[in-house]
Structures are given as structure tokens and as C-alpha cells.
Symmetry: C2
Subunit: 408 residues, 2 copies
């Protein structure tokens, strides 16, 4: 059996980002930049004031104090959006608003709080000022032509604002992956509000969970299907989902991936494409299949709801992010060290991901299991905000031990 | 001036969650549950097997080993989705698949790896088993009627799966807030791809940023508008955005909130509604207005792009989350203690939020500023993954100091 790292490396080694496309800026949120972005203008674009006040020549106000203010002639009133047409000469000042262009000759701005109205178009300056104080020079943040964002950057609100600032209303991004989500099993029935499943049957929660997982991480759902335990139907469906024209980028199934005589996922994958790995030394989730059918990636996840969710997080999420252009080094969730506050039992042999609540106390992380760790118990996963990692060969963790925790 | 905490408490004190509504389960992702959710059936719904193997009576196989296996008659083959109609009597076993119902009389399941095919419809058991081993009892995760999710829970993928498991395809959630986003200022011009703004003008990045911020945190955009520096137009627009029938739940403006003679946000708010707070002892972002017009909440943020983003994160985001039903105690972003690896200068008087990159190294957090902290420099915010908090009265931070960091 492969370790989790070996399996993930093997999966990611064969994945390249999808082709790029151009989207309007308003649709770029959550996507990944496909090209470096340069500033088309200086940022800020022109010398301007950082405060409301008076633009001055700093040498004119040396020694100004509240008790001995210095009077300057006000020769202009410059608003944001206006133009600074007058030139400051010795003894003059211009009233200026935040963001308004600095007049020629001025080398500092005095905040309005350090001024008083004087007689006859004058202003009394009550504090001296350093050169460049409250002045924002053109290009001081970024020079025209300088790179502001790198290819591979996930576009959040700050990136959206920065793209707008450099005039990019059309944004080059990687295409985001489409995923055919598939549940399997004769025991699984569609949910009808208000009706309990018949004896021996369980509700199809996996299709809803997979749909939510795909959307939550920014990919899109190609199709949702449930397959009975039937080889012919499984083959037909996988052919459609991997169709070169109408198929998905990725197929994700839940269930049917073990070795029972009604587990058709693995044989169907082997018949249509290639199985590249199967079985990982982890709990929950040992049976995990990865392979390809044509250009479509294939993930066969276990059918237990918790196993499906955890293996999606560990293997499918990084693969989908990689397809969407995120660099290899940025695919991991944050991991922290935390002190275990309740004992955690463990049978050596597989790395275990224990659903846990992790909190901070005076800057240190504390972690404890959320309860029953049966792989069908979604309740304890919903209560969790993290997965506590018990190493493969650990005999279990005691209170006070330090453990690595994956923050979700 | 209020501190950040005082301002936030004052804002949140007057906010109640919005009315509730019912949405289809597929649309519930990211919303907040408005009611406790109980299990309508036992979870799991019936006694079943956790593995592929043989259902047995544990007393029949005491002492079984690889060398001295115990033979049992195979009387049934139970698949997931099938029914267990046969009863196990002494010396008998039933082949059983993961998730299939446990037959009456069985009290354990032996994994298929601990069995061998025997002659004449028998199976050889090569390891003994504890009672209840690999058996999942009906209701062992959650009893019928037990609460599985609490009102106020944010619905992520695991919650979606759990709602499906208890048959809830219609989900009671809080309505999510609609936000009228507004940029202001005569200096601000619409972005035309390929065209640089005329002298003295800057591109309207704030409207894009606010739109992205609102959607990123799960609220929806009511409208997007740009207002010139004009009192009459500002009044007319705010009336429309706060219309009891067609208006928004929240108005968020950027710019025009200072005391210049062209800053119309505060006077317009005071004319139409009430100003409840203004100015917070923080940097970036001192001028922040909060108030109400009728039932519509009003946030006047500063116009500098970084100030707008940071004040949105600190004040508007918690308010929008509270409106969407998140409990008061769960509105904060995670804060950690980190070691400062580059000096941070600071002028006492306001709490400063410094754009920073925070990383982990051997379980400890390290943090450093991303560069120029001018409040119009979005570039250094886009590079950041966190905000390093410099206390109001701090003289600055030195290398090796410990600081609180807000993870974004």
C-alpha cells in the first residue's frame, strides 16, 4: 500500500493545468491567474496628497508652531479629480484634498488639523513639516511595467481590486475543472422529503456531498448520476463521462471500489482506461482508486460518507486545484502542531485522520476528537473543524502529546 | 475615537439575523441553518456490517486460528441493499458485504481476509472475533430524534451530506443579506480596457473590490453604483437603496466619508437616517461611518483601497455574517500568535493592521510585513495572507517580538 504522500505525489505528477481562457473581471473571483500581470500605469498614477490639508513648500514653514504660526497665501483649492494648474511659489500654499494632484513646487502636505484659517486668503500653518510628508509620489507603490500579480495566483477580492487598478477588465485565467460526480450501490436510494428509506436501504447523501465539495473548492459539476451495481451500466456511464467532446475533466465516484463481487468501479476503469493506483495506507479510506479514461482523470472514492469526504479533501481537492492552475507548492491546507487534550486510540498500520475540534488558547493550539470515528458517522465530521493526524506507526496519542492537525 | 472592539460591539449590538426562508438542499451550501435539525431515523438506520466478510455468532469461533480454522455453514449471501431474511443458528455464517444488513443471530463480522473458502458451502474462519466486531448497530451514531445540527451552523459539504442523510431536501436557513455597493468621488472614472485614465483621475477599483468582498463572504450584491461628489445625487441614491420594498439590507460606500467640503456621505446619512458611529482608532481606516436609513444598515468606508478592504473585513463582514444568522461568538477570524521576523515601525495612537505574510515553521508561526503600507497600495495587500496587529500604544515591533496575527 502507498502512503498518503506517495499516493498524492503520484496523482499530481501526471496533472497539468487546464487550458487558459479570458473572463470578465467580475467573473474572475476564485479563479487562478494564467499570466503575470503588469501595471500599465504608475501606481499611484500621479503625485497626490495622502490627507486633507494644504500643499506647501516645506522650507517655507520651518519653525511653525501653534504659538508662532506661519501665514501662507492660499492660491488654489485642489479637489480630488481636479487638476493642479497653479505653481506654488515662495510663501504660497494650496488647499488640497486626499487623492488630489500635488501642485508643482509643493514638496509636502500639512494636515488640516495643523492649520488655522488666516485673514485675506491666507492659511496659518501651526506645525512644521518634513519634505515628502503626506505626499504620495507617482509610481511609489508600483512603477509602470512592474509585475503586480504572478501567474498561479488565486484571485480573491484584493486581486480583483488590483486587476481593476491596472485596467484589466478581461482576465486571463486557467479553465476550472468540470467534475462528473457519481454515487453507486443498490442499497442507495434517492431522497424523498418526509419518506424514510425502505429496510436495508440508505439515503443517497454522497451525491449531495460530492456536489457541495466540488462547488466549495471552486470547480464545477459536469453531471450528477447514481449507478446501480451493474457492470454494463457502469461501463456505459463512464464512456459518456469521459467522452472527448461532451465529457468531464474528472470523474469522481463514491462506493463500489472495494473487492466485493458487486464492486464494479475498478474493473470498469481497468476495462476503459488505466488504473494508476489503488489502496492507500490511511483510515478512513483505504480503498481509493486513481486512473484515467482518455483525457479524463478518474477518482474512485470509498462509499462510506466520511471516507469519501476525507479522501476527496486529501486527493481530489489538490488535483482539482492543480488543474485550475494553482502551483504545486500551494496545494496543501495549513497544518499546525496542537496539544492533544483527550486520548486518541490507534491501531498501527495506517495513518489515521481523526475528526477533531482544534482551538487556540493563549496562542497555542489544542485539539480533541469530536466523538465516534466510524467511517459512516458524518455527524462527528460536521462537528469538526480539523483532522488530527495519527502517524501510521503510532500506538495512539495520550493527553499532552503533540500532534499535527490539518485545518479545514 | 472608539477602539476597534468598541466600534464592532456597537455595530453588532443592534443587528439581528434576517428572516428565515426554506431553500432546496443543493442551494444551501454556504448558508446558515435557522433551526436545529433532528435525525428522522436511526443513524445508521439498521444493524449492518462495516466490512466485507462473514456474519457469525462469535461464540461459534472461539479459538479459531490460521492453523486450526473453524468451519461454518454458509447459509446466505447478503448484499448491500438486500435483506437479511435468514436467521443464523449455531455453526452457521452468512457472507455479507459492507453496509449490508446483519442477519438475526449474528453478533460479529469476520473480515474476508480472516477466512478461507471451505468445501460444500462452508467457510473456514481463521481468526476468532470479539462480539460486536465490525458491526455497526442501528442508532449507534445518532438516535432517531437526536439533534444532528444546531441552528446557527454554517452549511459546508459535511453539513450538506448530513442533511441529506436525515432526509432534509428542504432546508430552513436565514436569508442572506443584499448589499448596495457604492463608490464615490469625482476623481474616480470607469475602467475602459486599454485606456489610461486622464490626468488627475483614477480607475474605479473599489466597486470591483466591494462586489468581490460581498460575494466572497456569501452575501449578494443588490446593486453597484458610482456617485459623483454631489449632495443631491447622493441623497437620491441613498433613498433608493434604502427603499422599504426595493432597497438593500445594507449600503456600503467607499470614499467621501471624511470632513472635506466635498465629502457628502456623512451629511447625507445624517439627513436621511442616523449616524451611530464615526471614526475608529485604527490604521488604515480611521474614518468609518456606521448608521441606519430606515431598516437598511449603512457603512461608509474610506476611499483608499486598502482602508476599504480592511474596514470591510473588520466591520462589514461580521455584520453581514450576523445578518445571515452566524452566532455572535463565531464571527471572528482565527487569530494566532506569531514571531515577528522583520521590524515594524508604528506611531502610537491607533491600532495598526499591517499587511503580512504569516508562515509556519516547525509548528511556530512567523510573520513579516509585505512591504509599503500606504493605504492606497493594494499590491502589498494582495501579497498578504494575514494582518499583523500592532497595538494602539505600541512603539513598534522588533525582530523576535510576538504579535497577534489575523489570518485571512
Amino acid at each position: 500500500m502507498l502512503t498518503v504522500e506517495e499516493a498524492l505525489n503520484k496523482i499530481l505528477a501526471g496533472i497539468e493545468p487546464l487550458p487558459t481562457q479570458t473572463v470578465p473581471l467580475r467573473e474572475a473571483l476564485g479563479r487562478t491567474l494564467a499570466e503575470d500581470i503588469a501595471a500599465d500605469i504608475d501606481l499611484p498614477p500621479f503625485d497626490n496628497s495622502a490627507v486633507d490639508g494644504y500643499a506647501v513648500r516645506s522650507q517655507d514653514i520651518v519653525g511653525a508652531t501653534e504659538a508662532r504660526p506661519i501665514a501662507l497665501r492660499t492660491i488654489a483649492d485642489i479637489h480630488a479629480g481636479g487638476l493642479a494648474t497653479e505653481r506654488l511659489s515662495a510663501g504660497s500654499a494650496a488647499r488640497i484634498m486626499t487623492g488630489a494632484p500635488l501642485p508643482t513646487g509643493a514638496d509636502a502636505v500639512v494636515m488640516v488639523e495643523d492649520t488655522r484659517q488666516g485673514p485675506d486668503q491666507t492659511v496659518l500653518i501651526t506645525a512644521e513639516s518634513q519634505r515628502e510628508q503626506h505626499v504620495r509620489r507617482a509610481g511609489e507603490d508600483v512603477r509602470r511595467g512592474g509585475t503586480v500579480l504572478r501567474a498561479g495566483t488565486r484571485i480573491r477580492a484584493a486581486e480583483v481590486g488590483l486587476l481593476a487598478t491596472v485596467g484589466r477588465t478581461l482576465v486571463p485565467v486557467f479553465r476550472s475543472a468540470t467534475v462528473a460526480v457519481v454515487s453507486t450501490g443498490d442499497e442507495v436510494v434517492e431522497i424523498v422529503e418526509g419518506l424514510a428509506p425502505r429496510p436495508g436501504k440508505i439515503r443517497n447523501s454522497n451525491l449531495y456531498t460530492l456536489n457541495a465539495l466540488v462547488r466549495e473548492i471552486g470547480a464545477s459539476v459536469h453531471s450528477e448520476s447514481h449507478l446501480p451495481d451493474d457492470m454494463a451500466e457502469t461501463i456505459t456511464a463512464f464512456r459518456a463521462f469521459s467522452d472527448p467532446t461532451h465529457g468531464a475533466d474528472v470523474i469522481v465516484t463514491a462506493g463500489g471500489v472495494s473487492v466485493g463481487d458487486r464492486d464494479f468501479i475498478k474493473p470498469a476503469l481497468e476495462q476503459l482506461g488505466t488504473l494508476e493506483l489503488w489502496r492507500v495506507a490511511m483510515k478512513p479510506g483505504k480503498p481509493v482508486a486513481f486512473g484515467r479514461i482518455g483525457r479524463t482523470l478518474f477518482f474512485g472514492l470509498p462509499g462510506n460518507p466520511v471516507s469519501a469526504l476525507v479522501t476527496f479533501e486529501l486527493f481530489v481537492r489538490p488535483a482539482l486545484w492543480r488543474l485550475s492552475g494553482i502551483p504545486l507548492g500551494q496545494l496543501a491546507r495549513p497544518e499546525v502542531l496542537a496539544m492533544v487534550t483527550e486520548p486518541v486510540s490507534h491501531t498501527p498500520g495506517r495513518r489515521e485522520y481523526v475528526r477533531a475540534i482544534t482551538t487556540t488558547n493563549e496562542g497555542r493550539f489544542l485539539t480533541r476528537p469530536t466523538g465516534g470515528q466510524s467511517s459512516c458517522n458524518l455527524h462527528t465530521l460536521a462537528l469538526a473543524n480539523s483532522l488530527l493526524i495519527v502517524p501510521l506507526d503510532s500506538p495512539g496519542l495520550r493527553m499532552g502529546n503533540t500532534a499535527t492537525v490539518l485545518l479545514l
